[in-house]
């Protein structure tokens, strides 16, 4: 296909050419960034979480007397375990993605205050006896807490547990002691220290920042006795078959209200809780998808409109070309190649703009650098869209009969 005549004709229609290139460039720039943002949200929504998400339901119980927790919690748990269908039950302080975060910074040396730049912020989870099994934590190395660990742990006046054992996630182990086994290692804060007895698969924190980084998994677990819990073991976790969750949750809530008339309960199925956490993100992603679709449609119709106009304007020239021997295929090819060139120019400009917008967003928002492959993918998508949009007008052009050449315009 000869390109020169196309270029010559585009040069004669400078303004429409510039407009169509500009429209494609803008669409490409916005599309790249929007698709990137959609991708980020989708990957956050799908972050793995090493607890038994699909078997868990939970009932929060607050407003009860902290002084009698030592006998109340075992009594409540015994009642919950008696509900038909409950496979395991335990009391915990918080759950992944529950928004209820207790954070503290730790370092690997006893002299943490001096090396404060090296401290890492963890989310603290307190487990009552049996909660590890109820949650379905997956042990990678070492052991879970034993009965002595639970019995020895309590809260004093400090906002940290009085115990010396801890479970950490794989991500914490990698961050604190890269390339080594974390088992038996100790981490410190100014007043407390904890020794790792087990490493578990990655569990999400109560709050995550949605950037898909390892820090989303900086969760540390501590044993906690019922009597020493000072009102911090407020959430009961129940494990059952997925089909039983709803019934088990209602029965558990009813039972806890009966046993604790002063308490206030709040129940949820864990997978609903997770959906709730990501609800904002999900609606933003759908909005972005909607804008992208509408934007592509507008651009496609714009291309159809302008090309149709061009075809209409050139009916006579097309007729002459047909009369002197050009096939229908040649005419189609002409418009397709023309569109290919226009899209190409638009896409090149658009990719540059997309990159610029990403740099700007990185400076002003919590957005990371766009991976390079978004650019060629968007470029190819727009190229395809252009070809699709031009198909109709090109077909109409190909159907112009040669006899048009003999008529005056």
């Amino acid at each position: 296909m000869e390109i020169r005549p196309i270029l010559a004709s585009l040069r004669k229609h400078r303004i429409p050419t510039v407009l169509i290139v500009l429209e494609i460039a803008l669409t490409c720039a916005v599309l790249c960034n929007a698709v990137f943002m959609i991708g980020q949200r989708v990957s956050a929504i799908r972050l793995p979480n090493a607890i038994d998400e699909h078997s868990l339901s939970t009932v929060g119980l607050s407003g009860t007397d902290e002084k009698t927790a030592g006998s109340d919690i075992p009594r409540n748990l015994a009642a919950l375990r008696g509900i038909p269908g409950v496979q395991a039950a335990g009391a915990v302080s918080t759950l992944p993605l529950s928004h209820n975060n207790w954070g503290w910074s730790f370092g690997t040396s006893p002299d943490v205050s001096v090396f404060n730049k090296k401290t890492v912020n963890f989310s603290l989870f307190f487990l009552g006896e049996g909660a590890d099994k109820a949650l379905g934590l997956r042990l990678l190395e070492g052991r879970f807490f034993n009965a002595d660990d639970y019995a020895d742990s309590s809260f004093g006046s400090a906002p940290l547990p009085e115990t010396h054992v801890t479970l950490v996630t794989h991500s914490i182990a990698e961050r604190m002691w890269p390339g080594q086994s974390a088992l038996g290692k100790t981490y410190y804060t100014t007043s407390h220290y904890y020794t790792v007895v087990g490493v578990i698969a990655d569990v999400l924190r109560p709050n995550i920042d949605g950037q898909g980084e390892a820090s989303n998994y900086f969760s540390a677990f501590y044993p906690m006795s019922a009597e020493g819990s000072k009102g911090n073991l407020r959430r009961y976790v129940l494990r059952s078959a997925p089909g039983d969750r709803d019934r088990v949750m209602r029965a558990a809530e009813q039972k806890l209200i009966e046993l604790n008339p002063n308490g206030v309960t709040k129940s949820a199925i864990y997978s609903d809780m997770r959906d709730q956490y990501f609800a904002d993100m999900r609606s933003m992603a759908w909005m972005l998808v909607l804008v992208c679709v509408v934007m592509l449609a507008v651009t496609a119709f714009g291309i159809v409109g302008l090309t149709s106009f061009w075809v209409g304007q050139r009916r006579q020239q097309i007729g002459i070309r047909r009369a002197v021997g050009a096939s229908r295929g040649h005419i189609m090819q002409y418009f397709q190649t023309e569109n290919f060139l226009l899209s190409g120019a638009g896409v090149v400009l658009g990719v540059a703009m997309a990159y610029g917008i990403n740099l700007y967003l990185m400076q002003h928002y919590e957005i990371t650098r766009m991976p390079w492959y978004y650019l060629p993918v968007s470029a190819v998508a727009l190229w395809g869209l252009g070809q699709l949009a031009v198909l109709g007008p090109a077909l109409r052009a190909a159907n112009v009969p040669p006899v048009v050449a003999t008529r005056s315009a």
């Binding site: 916005v30 404060n116 904002d280 509408v294």
Partner: protein, 434 residues
Amino acid sequence: MFGYYLDLALRSLARNKVLTTLMVVALALGIGATITTLAVLRLLSGDPLPQKSAQLFYPQMDPYPANQPFSRSGKMPWLLSYVDAMNLLRARRAQRQAAVALSQVKVMPQTADGNPFYADGVMTTADFFPMFDAPFQYGAGWSAGDDDARAQVAVIAGFLNDQLFGGADSVGHMIRIEGHDFRIVGVLRPWAPQPRFYALHLGGHSYGKGQGVFVPLQSARADGITPSAMMSYGPGSGMDHLETSPAIWLGVWLELPDAAAVSTYRRFLANYAQQQVALGRFQKSRTAMPALMEWLRGEHVVPDDARLQAGLAFGFLLICVVNTVGLLLAKCLRRSREIGVRRALGASRAAIFVQFMVEAAIVGMVGGVLGLVFAELGLWGIRHQPAQYAGLAHLDLSMFLFTFVVALAASLIAGLLPAWRACAVAPAPQLKAA
């Protein structure tokens, strides 16, 4: 003359129905998206207390040790310790001053069959209500004397009064909060500043329904009510002795009527911090005292997503305008012959220009009306979203007018180029070709 242009424009638009529809719908979508996101953005970044915000200030100081800074990027700590907050309050150097902390509190209805429930609570001091112009339905706030005496008094929100007392005047009644009886002294009218500036970093929501229960800070603390947010900056802090702990958990607000009072207070605050350094309580003497709006902007209270959506919508509108320019241009160049005839019959360039601008303006007006429909649809969609501010999304009169200004501006800008090209058409070649 204008009527004639109008007639011409309508005829021309009617001739190419598909093209016209395309232009109008594209423009309307762009305008609808822009107005929807701008309405949300305006709602989120609005002034919570327009009549007062310029006089309200948020003092900050830094009790953190030099080797354990509050933030690695040098931000001032968000909150104050009890000792510092009380020192500022007792100094009474501002016209009004109040300390604020939030808490989830258990409320026990006094009726026999009522179940206990949790309400969002505010622990604060007497000046809170007059300083923030909180409107009372019944009664009034408590006095500074009540604060000092640790009186068991409470102010409740209208919605809680409806729930507990069926909306009747409940002043003098008792309410059981966290196992302690409080006497109700005031009931607020519906009051929920958006964004909730005084709740920032205290563990509450920035948007949506306001808090239900307001109790004096010291009385609440004496009853063992703990704040929702607390950050420790040294060893030995604990929830049971927050008053003496090295921990920040209170926000302080000041009302300063004029610039002189502001600069006097800034000096007082700087002196106070230097004194604390001299006493060995602080290691850093830096202070800050942003005004309300400055504080909200600095803390990025508006969610990033809302701003990104607005940016995206503008990009989309730009694409729609470019699209409209292209289509209008195509349309008007197609009518070169008609223009040639009109010019030959004596129409001036200006007349042709006006004729095409009228056509563009019609597209803009129709696009604007349709855009308004899309915006209402978009806002309806946002009201059904899970975000905390969702319920507030609406279009007010100024946004309504703004829609038309945007629509008209967008279409006139889109019409400029085609109109200019149209009036540049030389009549002779067009007539000859015919």
